[in-house]
């Protein structure tokens, strides 16, 4: 079972929820896919055992073999390659390269296009008790988080029978979120009962529906007087699975990196039950 935790915007408590789920689940794999700003480790405090540099292939052109015919540059839809016959030179822009391999495929000269590896981020692996911890961290200045996210999900979600995976998605509704949700069986959307929260939730729901994913809502900083999320959920027929009350104590613990399950141990049962229902297909 792969559960992704997402939110239309940042700061709604997505990591607070995902880490609390992990701490309530017992045996599970927590994966921080908010690779531009991973902060699950702050709450889970895992023992990191391994750090791997994640690389993507990029071409290098061997000037001794290249005939400067320009076929590779014409074939590259991302304009990551320029061939300059007059000066017998080539320019590769690695940050524009999508590692599609087309340049090497179209090149008529054997060995003119070779592959080199460019690091785009780091993957850290470790444990916190029975929780397996995996985190992606994109290097600064990398234009896209998608290759790192897909690299992690394809390598570490092994589909082991019955294993629970909790994916902490990046906020918003852009490509990295799509890449994360693509691999999930169920999406938990975390929101706040404010007009902004609702607005972003609407976008997130639209995305989840477009992707044909099952989803449920978690309201963070819940306030009984605010019913706008309830009204919306009724209208779009999405279940509200959990309400985390608005509490200064939780807020303060959050700011110090203390997990929800430590401030409100009783919530463990609720969270475990919630995951059980999702896994059983009751939600």
């Amino acid at each position: 079972m792969i559960i992704a935790v997402a939110s239309g915007k940042g700061g709604t408590g997505k990591t607070l929820v995902t880490t609390a789920l992990a701490l309530s689940a017992g045996e599970c794999t927590y994966i921080d896919l908010d690779v531009e700003e991973p902060n699950g480790a702050i709450f889970l405090k895992p023992d990191i055992r391994e750090e791997i540099a994640y690389t993507v292939p990029v071409p290098v052109i061997d000037k001794d073999k290249c005939t400067f015919c320009g076929a590779c540059a014409r074939a590259c839809v991302y304009h990551a390659l320029v061939v300059i016959p007059i000066s017998r030179s080539t320019v590769v822009f690695p940050e524009l390269c999508h590692s599609c391999g087309v340049c090497g495929f179209v090149c008529p000269v054997e060995g003119a296009v070779r592959e080199t590896h460019r690091e785009i981020g780091k993957i850290r692996k470790g444990n916190r008790g029975s929780i397996q911890f995996i985190e992606g961290r994109l290097n600064i200045g990398q234009p896209s988080a998608v290759p790192l996210i897909s690299g992690i999900t394809s390598n570490y979600i092994t589909g082991e029978n019955g294993r629970l995976y909790l994916l902490d998605s990046s906020p918003g509704t852009a490509c990295p979120v799509v890449e994360t949700l693509k691999n999930s069986d169920y999406v938990l959307l975390v929101t706040e009962p404010t007009p902004f929260g609702l607005n972003d939730l609407e976008l997130a729901v639209e995305l989840v529906r477009d992707m044909g994913k099952k989803a449920g809502i978690i309201i963070n900083k819940d306030d009984e007087r605010q019913t706008l999320i309830d009204d919306f959920c009724r209208r779009v027929q999405l279940p509200i699975l959990l309400r985390i009350p608005y509490s200064l104590e939780i807020q303060e613990a959050y700011s110090r990196g203390i997990p929800l399950t430590e401030v409100r141990p009783v919530m463990k049962t609720q969270l475990k039950d919630l995951m059980g229902r999702i896994t059983d297909g009751r939600w």
Partner: protein, 109 residues
């Protein structure tokens, strides 16, 4: 020598030098030997989302230009021009004629 000039309109040598290199409206190619315009063409890449600077610099290479006149290009376009040995001369106002006159000494090679 052929000179690649980024201009905003199509008015012969009275065309105005563009305000942005990759997104200039037209490209004027001028031959300093025959002192004549070789061609003026519309910037087909003007509204492309990505890679505009690279495409324009590649165009200058393909047209066989040895110098380019226009506003400061982006780093990628600059790298392509430098690799091609195309001299980049920075100008962002005046007409194509004024630019050629102004840079004449640098274009006499």
């Amino acid at each position: 020598m052929k000179v690649f000039i980024a201009v905003d309109n199509n008015n012969g040598m009275d065309s105005l030098v563009g305000e942005r290199f990759g997104r200039a409206g037209y490209f004027l190619i001028y031959d300093t030997v025959g002192d004549a315009i070789v061609s003026i063409e519309k910037n087909a890449y003007q509204n492309d989302a990505q890679g505009v600077g690279i495409k324009i610099a590649t165009l200058a290479v393909e047209k066989g230009c040895s110098a380019a006149i226009g506003p400061q290009p982006g780093p990628k376009a600059e790298e392509v021009l430098a690799n091609a040995g195309i001299k980049m001369l920075i100008a962002d106002k005046g007409t194509a004629r004024e630019a050629i006159q102004h840079f004449r000494p640098q274009l006499e090679t």
